[in-house]
Amino acid sequence: MMPDLGKYADTVLSAYAASLLLLVALVVFSILRGRKVRAEMEKVEQRMTRNG
Protein backbone atom coordinates (compact mmCIF):
# COMPACT_ATOMS: atom_id res chain seq x y z
CA MET A 1 0.00 0.00 0.00
CA MET A 2 2.86 2.39 0.85
CA PRO A 3 4.01 4.11 -2.34
CA ASP A 4 7.64 3.79 -3.36
CA LEU A 5 9.07 7.21 -2.48
CA GLY A 6 12.53 6.29 -3.71
CA LYS A 7 15.53 8.28 -2.54
CA TYR A 8 13.29 11.11 -1.29
CA ALA A 9 11.39 8.97 1.23
CA ASP A 10 12.94 10.76 4.23
CA THR A 11 12.17 14.18 2.72
CA VAL A 12 8.52 13.42 1.97
CA LEU A 13 7.82 11.58 5.21
CA SER A 14 9.45 14.23 7.40
CA ALA A 15 7.44 16.99 5.65
CA TYR A 16 4.21 15.08 6.28
CA ALA A 17 5.15 14.22 9.87
CA ALA A 18 6.05 17.84 10.76
CA SER A 19 2.93 19.29 9.11
CA LEU A 20 0.45 16.80 10.53
CA LEU A 21 2.00 17.12 13.98
CA LEU A 22 1.61 20.91 13.88
CA LEU A 23 -1.99 20.69 12.62
CA VAL A 24 -3.02 18.11 15.23
CA ALA A 25 -1.30 20.11 18.00
CA LEU A 26 -3.15 23.26 16.92
CA VAL A 27 -6.55 21.53 16.93
CA VAL A 28 -5.92 19.72 20.24
CA PHE A 29 -4.64 22.81 22.07
CA SER A 30 -7.53 24.91 20.71
CA ILE A 31 -10.10 22.37 21.93
CA LEU A 32 -8.44 21.87 25.33
CA ARG A 33 -8.29 25.62 25.99
CA GLY A 34 -11.85 26.04 24.71
CA ARG A 35 -13.15 23.41 27.14
CA LYS A 36 -11.19 24.86 30.06
CA VAL A 37 -12.47 28.40 29.43
CA ARG A 38 -16.06 27.21 28.96
CA ALA A 39 -15.96 25.28 32.27
CA GLU A 40 -14.46 28.27 34.07
CA MET A 41 -17.13 30.60 32.69
CA GLU A 42 -19.91 28.28 33.84
CA LYS A 43 -18.33 28.11 37.30
CA VAL A 44 -18.12 31.90 37.59
CA GLU A 45 -21.69 32.35 36.30
CA GLN A 46 -23.04 29.81 38.80
CA ARG A 47 -21.17 31.47 41.65
CA MET A 48 -22.53 34.89 40.70
CA THR A 49 -26.09 33.55 40.39
CA ARG A 50 -25.78 31.96 43.86
CA ASN A 51 -24.43 35.17 45.36
CA GLY A 52 -27.09 37.26 43.62
Binding site: P3, L5, T11, V12, A15, A18, L22, G34, V37, M48
Partner: protein, 257 residues
Amino acid sequence: MSIASKANSLWEYANPKKFLTTTERVLPFFWVSSAAFLVVGLVWGFFFTPDDYKQGSTVKIIYLHVPSALMAINCWIMMLATSLVWLVRRHHVSALAARAAAPVGIVMTLIALATGAIWGQPMWGTWWAWDPRLTSFLILFLFYLGYVALWEAIEDPDTAADLTSVLCLVGSVFAFLSRYAVNFWNQGLHQGASVMRAGAITGTDTEEKVSNIFFYPLLLCIVGFVLLFIALVFYRTGTEIRARRIKALLARERVNA
Protein backbone atom coordinates in the same frame (compact mmCIF):
# COMPACT_ATOMS: atom_id res chain seq x y z
CA MET B 1 -34.37 41.35 1.24
CA SER B 2 -32.27 44.12 -0.39
CA ILE B 3 -28.47 43.97 -0.54
CA ALA B 4 -28.21 46.87 1.92
CA SER B 5 -30.42 45.15 4.50
CA LYS B 6 -28.56 41.86 3.95
CA ALA B 7 -25.27 43.67 4.58
CA ASN B 8 -26.75 45.30 7.66
CA SER B 9 -27.90 41.93 9.01
CA LEU B 10 -24.24 40.85 9.02
CA TRP B 11 -23.66 43.22 11.92
CA GLU B 12 -25.99 41.09 14.04
CA TYR B 13 -23.03 38.70 14.39
CA ALA B 14 -21.15 41.43 16.21
CA ASN B 15 -23.41 40.45 19.12
CA PRO B 16 -21.35 37.84 21.05
CA LYS B 17 -24.42 35.78 21.97
CA LYS B 18 -25.66 35.65 18.37
CA PHE B 19 -22.13 34.79 17.18
CA LEU B 20 -21.83 31.94 19.70
CA THR B 21 -25.24 30.40 18.98
CA THR B 22 -24.72 30.58 15.20
CA THR B 23 -21.16 29.24 15.17
CA GLU B 24 -22.03 26.41 17.56
CA ARG B 25 -24.73 25.34 15.13
CA VAL B 26 -22.45 25.34 12.07
CA LEU B 27 -19.20 24.16 13.69
CA PRO B 28 -19.89 20.38 13.38
CA PHE B 29 -20.33 20.85 9.62
CA PHE B 30 -16.97 22.64 9.33
CA TRP B 31 -15.07 20.12 11.51
CA VAL B 32 -16.47 17.09 9.67
CA SER B 33 -16.18 18.52 6.15
CA SER B 34 -12.63 19.80 6.70
CA ALA B 35 -11.57 16.37 8.00
CA ALA B 36 -13.25 14.67 5.03
CA PHE B 37 -11.64 16.96 2.43
CA LEU B 38 -8.22 16.70 4.06
CA VAL B 39 -8.29 12.92 4.41
CA VAL B 40 -9.49 12.36 0.83
CA GLY B 41 -7.14 14.99 -0.64
CA LEU B 42 -4.05 13.84 1.26
CA VAL B 43 -4.69 10.11 0.75
CA TRP B 44 -5.34 10.69 -2.97
CA GLY B 45 -2.26 12.87 -3.31
CA PHE B 46 0.07 10.70 -1.24
CA PHE B 47 -0.96 7.22 -2.36
CA PHE B 48 -2.53 7.60 -5.80
CA THR B 49 -0.54 10.21 -7.72
CA PRO B 50 2.65 9.47 -9.67
CA ASP B 51 6.07 10.99 -9.11
CA ASP B 52 6.94 14.15 -11.02
CA TYR B 53 9.45 13.70 -13.83
CA LYS B 54 11.70 16.43 -12.34
CA GLN B 55 10.99 16.40 -8.59
CA GLY B 56 10.39 12.69 -8.07
CA SER B 57 8.25 11.86 -5.02
CA THR B 58 8.94 15.26 -3.38
CA VAL B 59 6.05 16.59 -5.47
CA LYS B 60 3.77 15.06 -2.79
CA ILE B 61 4.82 17.87 -0.44
CA ILE B 62 2.75 20.24 -2.62
CA TYR B 63 -0.45 18.97 -0.91
CA LEU B 64 0.69 20.52 2.36
CA HIS B 65 2.93 23.35 1.23
CA VAL B 66 0.58 25.19 -1.15
CA PRO B 67 -2.59 25.09 1.03
CA SER B 68 -0.70 26.13 4.16
CA ALA B 69 1.08 29.00 2.36
CA LEU B 70 -2.25 30.12 0.91
CA MET B 71 -3.89 30.09 4.35
CA ALA B 72 -0.93 31.85 5.96
CA ILE B 73 -1.54 34.84 3.67
CA ASN B 74 -5.35 34.64 3.70
CA CYS B 75 -5.39 34.40 7.49
CA TRP B 76 -3.58 37.75 7.71
CA ILE B 77 -6.04 39.24 5.20
CA MET B 78 -8.92 38.01 7.38
CA MET B 79 -7.20 39.57 10.41
CA LEU B 80 -6.81 42.80 8.45
CA ALA B 81 -10.53 42.87 7.61
CA THR B 82 -11.61 42.18 11.21
CA SER B 83 -9.05 44.67 12.55
CA LEU B 84 -10.48 47.35 10.28
CA VAL B 85 -13.98 46.52 11.51
CA TRP B 86 -12.71 46.95 15.07
CA LEU B 87 -11.01 50.28 14.30
CA VAL B 88 -14.05 51.67 12.46
CA ARG B 89 -17.04 50.15 14.28
CA ARG B 90 -15.57 49.02 17.63
CA HIS B 91 -17.17 45.56 17.55
CA HIS B 92 -15.39 43.40 20.13
CA VAL B 93 -16.14 40.15 18.34
CA SER B 94 -14.16 41.30 15.30
CA ALA B 95 -11.10 42.16 17.41
CA LEU B 96 -11.38 38.80 19.19
CA ALA B 97 -11.73 36.98 15.85
CA ALA B 98 -8.44 38.54 14.70
CA ARG B 99 -6.80 37.52 17.97
CA ALA B 100 -8.18 33.98 17.63
CA ALA B 101 -6.94 33.64 14.05
CA ALA B 102 -3.33 34.67 14.71
CA PRO B 103 -2.07 31.35 16.19
CA VAL B 104 -3.73 29.54 13.28
CA GLY B 105 -1.78 31.83 10.94
CA ILE B 106 1.42 31.10 12.84
CA VAL B 107 0.98 27.36 12.37
CA MET B 108 0.10 27.76 8.68
CA THR B 109 3.18 29.94 8.09
CA LEU B 110 5.35 27.50 10.02
CA ILE B 111 4.09 24.55 7.94
CA ALA B 112 4.73 26.49 4.72
CA LEU B 113 8.26 27.44 5.82
CA ALA B 114 9.10 23.95 7.16
CA THR B 115 7.78 22.01 4.16
CA GLY B 116 9.47 24.52 1.83
CA ALA B 117 12.81 24.05 3.59
CA ILE B 118 12.48 20.26 3.65
CA TRP B 119 11.63 20.25 -0.09
CA GLY B 120 14.33 22.84 -0.90
CA GLN B 121 17.20 20.84 0.55
CA PRO B 122 17.21 18.07 -2.10
CA MET B 123 15.76 20.22 -4.93
CA TRP B 124 17.71 23.48 -4.55
CA GLY B 125 20.60 22.07 -2.53
CA THR B 126 19.83 24.36 0.40
CA TRP B 127 17.34 24.56 3.27
CA TRP B 128 17.06 28.30 2.97
CA ALA B 129 17.82 31.14 0.56
CA TRP B 130 17.27 34.88 1.00
CA ASP B 131 14.86 34.78 -1.90
CA PRO B 132 12.14 37.51 -2.10
CA ARG B 133 9.23 35.15 -1.43
CA LEU B 134 10.96 33.16 1.31
CA THR B 135 12.18 36.31 3.03
CA SER B 136 8.80 38.05 2.93
CA PHE B 137 7.23 34.85 4.33
CA LEU B 138 9.73 34.80 7.17
CA ILE B 139 8.94 38.46 7.95
CA LEU B 140 5.21 37.61 7.86
CA PHE B 141 5.92 34.84 10.40
CA LEU B 142 7.73 37.35 12.64
CA PHE B 143 4.77 39.74 12.31
CA TYR B 144 2.45 36.94 13.46
CA LEU B 145 4.66 36.34 16.52
CA GLY B 146 4.79 40.07 17.24
CA TYR B 147 1.01 40.33 16.89
CA VAL B 148 0.38 37.56 19.43
CA ALA B 149 3.05 38.94 21.78
CA LEU B 150 1.44 42.40 21.66
CA TRP B 151 -1.98 40.98 22.61
CA GLU B 152 -0.39 39.19 25.57
CA ALA B 153 1.69 42.19 26.67
CA ILE B 154 -1.13 44.73 27.07
CA GLU B 155 -3.58 44.29 29.91
CA ASP B 156 -6.39 46.56 28.70
CA PRO B 157 -8.14 44.58 25.93
CA ASP B 158 -9.36 47.65 24.02
CA THR B 159 -5.87 49.19 23.91
CA ALA B 160 -4.45 45.81 22.89
CA ALA B 161 -7.04 45.57 20.11
CA ASP B 162 -6.18 49.09 18.91
CA LEU B 163 -2.43 48.51 18.82
CA THR B 164 -2.62 45.03 17.29
CA SER B 165 -4.97 46.37 14.62
CA VAL B 166 -2.39 48.98 13.64
CA LEU B 167 0.31 46.29 13.63
CA CYS B 168 -1.95 44.21 11.40
CA LEU B 169 -2.26 47.09 8.92
CA VAL B 170 1.53 47.41 8.74
CA GLY B 171 2.06 43.65 8.44
CA SER B 172 -0.38 43.51 5.52
CA VAL B 173 2.41 44.85 3.32
CA PHE B 174 4.32 41.62 3.95
CA ALA B 175 1.24 39.43 3.48
CA PHE B 176 0.85 41.13 0.10
CA LEU B 177 4.57 40.79 -0.68
CA SER B 178 4.51 37.09 0.29
CA ARG B 179 2.01 36.52 -2.50
CA TYR B 180 3.45 38.82 -5.17
CA ALA B 181 7.18 39.00 -4.32
CA VAL B 182 7.99 36.71 -7.24
CA ASN B 183 6.25 39.12 -9.64
CA PHE B 184 7.94 42.22 -8.22
CA TRP B 185 11.48 40.83 -8.18
CA ASN B 186 12.07 38.46 -11.02
CA GLN B 187 14.89 36.71 -9.19
CA GLY B 188 15.39 34.14 -6.47
CA LEU B 189 14.87 30.40 -6.28
CA HIS B 190 11.14 30.21 -5.63
CA GLN B 191 9.11 29.61 -8.77
CA GLY B 192 6.20 31.84 -9.76
CA ALA B 193 2.56 30.96 -9.11
CA SER B 194 1.79 27.71 -10.92
CA VAL B 195 -1.45 26.75 -9.19
CA MET B 196 -3.59 29.76 -8.19
CA ARG B 197 -2.92 31.79 -11.31
CA ALA B 198 -5.76 32.87 -13.59
CA GLY B 199 -3.85 31.86 -16.73
CA ALA B 200 -2.96 28.48 -15.24
CA ILE B 201 -6.56 27.73 -14.31
CA THR B 202 -8.11 28.87 -17.61
CA GLY B 203 -5.19 27.61 -19.72
CA THR B 204 -4.84 30.99 -21.44
CA ASP B 205 -1.11 31.40 -20.87
CA THR B 206 1.83 29.22 -21.84
CA GLU B 207 3.73 29.39 -18.55
CA GLU B 208 4.37 26.22 -16.57
CA LYS B 209 1.42 25.02 -14.51
CA VAL B 210 0.62 22.13 -12.24
CA SER B 211 -0.61 19.05 -14.11
CA ASN B 212 -4.23 18.05 -13.51
CA ILE B 213 -3.03 14.75 -11.99
CA PHE B 214 -1.65 16.77 -9.08
CA PHE B 215 -4.11 19.66 -9.28
CA TYR B 216 -7.35 17.81 -8.36
CA PRO B 217 -6.13 16.30 -5.06
CA LEU B 218 -4.41 19.61 -4.35
CA LEU B 219 -7.73 21.40 -4.82
CA LEU B 220 -9.35 19.08 -2.25
CA CYS B 221 -6.52 19.82 0.20
CA ILE B 222 -6.93 23.57 -0.34
CA VAL B 223 -10.68 23.31 0.36
CA GLY B 224 -9.88 21.19 3.44
CA PHE B 225 -7.44 23.78 4.77
CA VAL B 226 -9.95 26.60 4.19
CA LEU B 227 -12.70 24.68 6.04
CA LEU B 228 -10.31 23.80 8.87
CA PHE B 229 -9.30 27.44 9.15
CA ILE B 230 -12.96 28.52 9.39
CA ALA B 231 -13.68 25.83 12.01
CA LEU B 232 -10.65 26.82 14.09
CA VAL B 233 -11.36 30.55 13.90
CA PHE B 234 -15.04 30.10 14.83
CA TYR B 235 -14.14 27.80 17.73
CA ARG B 236 -11.25 29.91 18.99
CA THR B 237 -13.26 33.15 18.69
CA GLY B 238 -15.91 31.53 20.89
CA THR B 239 -13.19 30.76 23.43
CA GLU B 240 -11.94 34.37 23.33
CA ILE B 241 -15.51 35.68 23.80
CA ARG B 242 -15.95 33.45 26.88
CA ALA B 243 -12.53 34.44 28.28
CA ARG B 244 -13.53 38.10 27.91
CA ARG B 245 -16.84 37.42 29.68
CA ILE B 246 -15.00 35.74 32.56
CA LYS B 247 -12.85 38.87 32.97
CA ALA B 248 -15.95 41.09 32.92
CA LEU B 249 -17.78 38.90 35.48
CA LEU B 250 -14.79 38.79 37.81
CA ALA B 251 -14.44 42.58 37.59
CA ARG B 252 -18.15 42.98 38.44
CA GLU B 253 -17.74 40.54 41.35
CA ARG B 254 -14.81 42.56 42.71
CA VAL B 255 -16.85 45.79 42.51
CA ASN B 256 -19.83 44.21 44.30
CA ALA B 257 -17.68 42.61 47.02
